[in-house]
Amino acid sequence: MDPKTAMYVAQGIHGLAYGMILFLVASGLNIIFGMMGILNLAHASFFMLSAYFSYQFLSMTGNFWVALLLAPVATAFFGILLERFLLRKIHALGHMGELILTVGVSLVILAGVKIFWGTESLPLKIPPFLSGLVSLAGMDYPVYRLFIITLSLVVLGIMALLLYKTRLGKIVRAAVSDADMVNALGINMPLVFMIVFGIGTWLAGVAGVAIAPILLVFPGLADQIGMDAFVVVVTGGFGSLSGAFIVSIIFGLLSSYGVQFLSQLAPLLMFIFMAIVLAIKPTGFFGERE
């Protein structure tokens, strides 16, 4: 195969991997928003926190799988604490209060990360069995990117099973359309909210661990991916998972091919895309509510 095609395919794989990571973060945001109406601006901070946790677990145990398993759980624990002890108290104040509170939380996490791990970038090695290239149909693919894509698909599959095949999933889907009614039917909604918030931050956590070996772990990580994830949610439509999926993949490809063709202005492509979509349909691609 000629080198030009190979390059396009490689960029495509990079874009897909980034898009899947973006989707993991954005789907967490979207689940929380769809159900509780809370736009968690600290979501990307949890993502970053999980990357730091994975660094910590990896340097303590030396086992990547342990880090992949434990770091998102630890992150979800902090997310549940946030929901239980802060967000629940100010729910009566409306969305302004929640937005501002989560901004405060994200600042505190940023400061905490700087205090515990310092401000310099921490390198995280790709585990040996996932590094290197694999040959498929005469082309080489980086194994770790393929691993990220597979991991995201597996997580997606688990989420879909959870959402459509279990009782909890049924309750969640009902609550998305009318949480008060579900509460009135005798289901402990505060508990469900807490679980959903935990799952949302867990998803961000998984993405954080997965991306840590590609990017360095540094305090600016949250800004970098957080903005992309928010743009995905806004463009795809609040609360719409399929919208988030499509837009994530588009953005992943836009950013990887954009870097190739217009390196300087690549970050702007996304915003331009968003502005066009919103100018035509203010609720986003698949969104029905604001």
Partner: protein
């Protein structure tokens, strides 16, 4: 009658204090006061959106930055531009930016409005950061000439002396504050509050909701531009840092701490935050931690901010004195 006299006395005291301030407190605190005044105006313009119209913006820094860049670029490239037109250019550039954005943003509200502004704010920040040829990127535009304040043939005051600049800044910002106050007292200001409380009803009453939002949006943007313009003149520097997300959070924090519901709440909040920052930077570098904790504590415990707290205290005090009076009557 006595109320009116009291008001006049208050005004005279305020003006005397402001006029005498640089003499009493020295250069350092004078400069601190100018910073406070800039952020107070910035926050009040933000509160026109949040407090009066119910629109939360996470990107108000872009107007601040537009004003700053407008003034700085004008002074750098136009020879012999005098001071007031430069500030006016700052106001206009922020106003034009908000005019460009308003057809898009007035159609949404609530969370979508906040998120759109987060995105646009970041976009502007990135533009200022990347277009080094125009904006100087992270280093910014510095050392542009600061013309003297002059009315031809009457007076010419050198603005490089911090004391003179203090008076200039205070007058410009004071006038901006007064205009915004006046703006909220007009019938139009009442419609604004109506849009916040019940947009659909305002619509049924025959007022135009998106247009109302657009006007408020442009006014708020323009005055944030004035604040940014004065800030650029004061620092003699404007960089992409003035557009970043922390600049957008500053008025949010100040408004929340001061109290959303009132016009002067953000001013009080700006004073409180300025004092806290001044004190904390002496002991620790973790400004983010302090700001974050303040936001969380205020939202959880005092959602109406300092003004709300003062109101509660006043009510308690009144209730207690009424209770005492009734006790005395009884005895």
């Amino acid at each position: 009658m006595t109320n009116k006299v009291f008001k006049w006395i208050l005004w005279i005291v305020l003006v005397t204090v402001l006029a005498g301030y640089p003499k009493f407190f020295g250069i350092y605190y004078t400069n601190l006061f100018v910073t406070f005044a800039v952020f107070a105006i910035f926050s009040v313009s933000f509160n026109l959106l949040l407090g009066y119209t119910g629109l939360l913006s996470f990107g108000h820094a872009m107007f601040f930055g537009a004003g700053g860049y407008g003034t700085a670029l004008a002074l750098k490239h136009i020879q012999g531009l005098s001071l007031l037109p430069a500030v006016l250019i700052g106001l206009l550039s922020a106003g034009v930016l908000s005019l460009i954005l308003c057809p898009l943003v007035v159609r949404v509200s609530g969370t979508a409005f906040a998120m759109l502004h987060l995105a646009f704010g970041q976009l502007m920040h990135m533009l200022a950061y990347k277009l080094r040829g125009i904006t100087g990127g992270e280093d910014g535009i510095g050392g542009f000439p600061i013309p003297p304040f002059s009315i031809p043939g009457v007076v010419s005051i050198n603005m490089k002396a911090p004391e003179n600049f203090y008076y200039f800044a205070i007058v410009v910002l004071g006038v901006s504050l007064w205009i915004m106050w006046f703006f909220t007292k007009t019938p139009f200001g009442q419609i604004q509050v109506g849009v916040r409380d019940n947009a659909m009803r305002i619509d049924y009453l025959g007022f135009k909701v998106p247009q109302t939002k657009a006007v408020v949006y442009v006014v708020a943007g323009a005055f944030a531009g004035v604040a940014g313009s004065i800030y650029a003149l004061f620092q003699n520097l404007i960089s992409s840092g003035a557009l970043d997300i922390f600049t957008s959070f500053a008025p949010i924090t100040m408004t929340m701490v001061g109290g959303i519901g009132s016009f002067l709440g953000p001013v009080l909040g700006a004073a409180i935050i300025q004092m806290i920052e001044e004190l904390t930077t002496r002991f620790t570098e973790q400004v983010e931690l302090v700001v974050g904790l303040i936001l969380i504590l205020v939202i959880v415990f005092f959602p109406m901010g300092a003004v709300g707290l003062l109101k509660i205290l006043k009510q308690k005090w009144l209730a207690r004195s009424a209770f005492k009076a009734s006790l005395e009557k009884a005895s």
